[in-house]
């Protein structure tokens, strides 16, 4: 089976700053590749390369076995790679279905009489969300009235509906409490089980481990290795990330509880 995404030894430098060096990993259909690392480890740089925001300087980047170098996020989207950013790109005051179709609205008619196909829009949004396990009675309610986890779900469902084969989730649990994080991780597992390739960026090994298939560890722009789940335990993953500093992990847990 050809991997959906494969990167070998990719690197990126901004001027004299080397942000990423010699990173290799793979994203397969029906699997979750987790990218873990502390702040400044190069997670964002890797994601920007995958989503077409920046281009890599060295190494190779394959999509469906073909060598690529994306010029823009649009090109990445056309290749089936959708990114759900931390800020989610939703407009809180707009209704769920209008957000779902924003920028790619379904229409009826032509020319000056072209109008929104509201019935189809509502129906598709409702169905797509139901497929992800969110059953909204009213897709006319503003997105702002949804919980953080549900908003993530709207963004993920939108990416899937518009033909994504790979979904990149940038710190989806960072702003969420413990319970909502669990909700989002369930959607991640659901997307995986529907045969999508998922890239999950996080700095929390406890969020990554239950859903992940493969773990790419980054530190100071370098790869500490790409491990299969069978090759690494959650304790080892945490130790690798924190550099043995249990206190950091403890602090993180405390922060999470007070959120």
């Amino acid at each position: 089976m050809t991997a959906l995404i494969e990167v070998t030894d990719v690197g990126k430098s901004y001027g004299s700053v080397i942000a990423l060096r010699d990173v290799s990993t793979v994203v397969n259909a029906g699997e979750v590749t987790c990218v873990l690392g502390d702040n400044g480890a190069g997670k964002s740089t890797l994601i920007k390369i995958l989503s077409g925001v920046h281009q890599h300087d060295s190494g190779q980047f394959f999509v469906d076995g073909k060598l690529v170098k994306f010029g823009s996020p649009r090109e990445a989207l056309d290749a089936g790679i959708a990114t759900v950013h931390q800020d989610l790109a939703v407009v809180p005051l707009m209704s769920v279905w209008r957000n779902f179709f924003l920028g790619s609205e379904p229409t009826l008619g032509f020319g000056p009489l072209q109008r929104l196909d509201r019935r189809r829009g509502r129906q598709i949004a409702k169905e797509s969300l139901a497929d992800m396990g969110i059953d909204l009675r009213d897709v006319e309610q503003p997105v702002g009235t949804l919980s953080g986890g549900e908003r993530q779900c709207v963004a993920i469902a939108r990416a899937i509906y518009f033909g994504a084969k790979v979904i990149i989730l940038d710190e989806p649990t960072a702003a969420l409490g413990v319970k909502q994080s669990g909700v989002v991780l369930r959607y991640v597992a659901q997307a995986r089980d529907r045969g999508l390739g998922v890239v999950l960026i996080t700095h929390n090994p406890r969020h990554a481990y239950p859903v992940g298939t493969r773990f790419l560890l980054l530190k100071r722009g370098m790869s500490l290795g790409s491990f299969e789940k069978s090759e690494i335990s959650i304790e080892e993953l945490t130790r690798q990330m924190a550099g043995g500093a249990e206190l950091e992990a403890l602090e993180h847990e405390l922060r999470e509880v007070t959120n």
Partner: protein, 346 residues
């Protein structure tokens, strides 16, 4: 899975009942309009006569056209302080081209429209290009236009007004379209009322039924998010500024053809009335929420109160007090909604 569904439904059911009412931005304005209507029907004798109705509808009409355009712009997250003076500028351009350059009124109006769209595009371009608040950018255009109106009028006519429209070619036909009256029973109603209703209906349709309308809400609600999903933010905003300018041209044309004289200081100070009418109609000052129909109703409240106070033989000073209270009430209602919708649950 069942747990997720049941918790979601629990939360949605009570929400949707209250939300259904509050979600309509024009509800507050509609209730306000009914209250004002009933109040003056009781306290002012002539308010409910045909002549009275024609008077307050006329007062609301030109204000309403502008309020609707300004509402679209406000939903798109921007202000246009030059909107008021634009109604004067366009009237002056039309009047000068027709009376001094001897053009046919239709041609003069066409050139005036081009001028308006140009200023609107400049406003929009400056705002999206510099990222400065539109409040300050359009304050600049407002002052510049005010100076131009007075300066050029004085240079050309040696006075502060341009008159003589009645003798120009095409006055009859253009006057029929923009400034005539129609009769219901024995009472003459201004054609501007038709323009107002038509423009409000068109704007309402565009806002909630078209792709462009969706984009207006999006660029006002969260421009970065809109950009991220491929909405042409700059184009949408520039088109909104041009729409406001075009509406100002329509009002300027209605005024010049009706009064046949354009004053150089016309329209100054009206920009706040437009914004007030839009806010009473349910527009948020922060953008992303509002209604075209609501803004039209906001203008109606304005017109009914202003004329109702005259009919009741009260001093018109009281109008400002009324306006202030109305505005505060509207802002409080709007704010409650926004907090409800933007509340983040974690």
């Amino acid at each position: 899975m069942t747990t997720v569904e049941s918790t979601v439904d629990e939360r949605v059911a009570p929400n949707s009942l209250t939300n259904r009412l509050i979600v309509r931005p024009e509800i507050g304005a509609l209730i306000g309009a009914l209250v004002v209507f009933v109040f003056f029907s009781i306290f002012a004798d002539k308010f409910l006569t045909m002549g009275g109705v024609a008077t307050w509808l006329d007062d609301s009409a030109t204000l309403g056209i502008m309020a609707v355009a300004v509402a679209l712009l406000m939903i798109g997250g921007e202000f246009d302080l030059s909107a008021g003076v634009m109604t004067g500028s366009t009237a002056l351009v039309t009047a000068m081209l027709a009376t001094k350059a001897g053009m046919n009124v239709w041609l003069a109006m066409l050139l005036s429209l081009v001028f308006a769209l140009g200023v609107g595009a400049l406003n929009g371009w400056l705002v999206v290009r510099t990222g400065l608040p539109s409040f300050i950018v359009t304050l600049g255009t407002f002052l510049a236009l005010q100076g131009l109106n007075l300066g050029i009028t004085r240079l050309v006519t040696n006075s502060v007004q341009v008159s003589g429209m009645r003798r120009t070619g095409g006055y009859e036909s253009s006057g029929f379209v923009f400034a005539s009256t129609f009769n219901i029973g024995d009472t003459a109603f201004r054609i501007s009322i038709i323009w107002w209703i038509g423009f409000a209906a068109l704007a309402a349709w565009i806002l909630v039924r078209t792709k462009f309308g969706n984009w207006i809400f999006a660029v006002g609600g969260s421009a970065p998010s809109a950009r991220a999903v491929g909405v042409p933010v700059a184009r949408t905003k520039i088109l909104l500024f041009m729409t406001t300018a075009a509406a100002a041209w329509l009002v300027g044309s209605i005024n010049i053809l009706r009064y046949t004289t354009a004053q150089a200081n016309e329209g100054i100070g009206l920009e706040f009335q437009y914004i007030i009418a839009a806010v009473i109609g349910g527009c948020l000052l922060t953008g992303g929420f509002g209604s075209a129909v609501g803004a039209a109703i906001g203008a109606l409240i304005f017109g009914m109160a202003r004329q109702g106070i005259v009919f009741a033989n009260w001093n018109s000073d009281w109008f400002m007090l009324f306006l202030g209270i109305m505005l505060l009430a509207a802002v409080l209602v709007n704010n409650t909604f926004r907090r409800r919708a933007e509340r983040v649950r974690r």
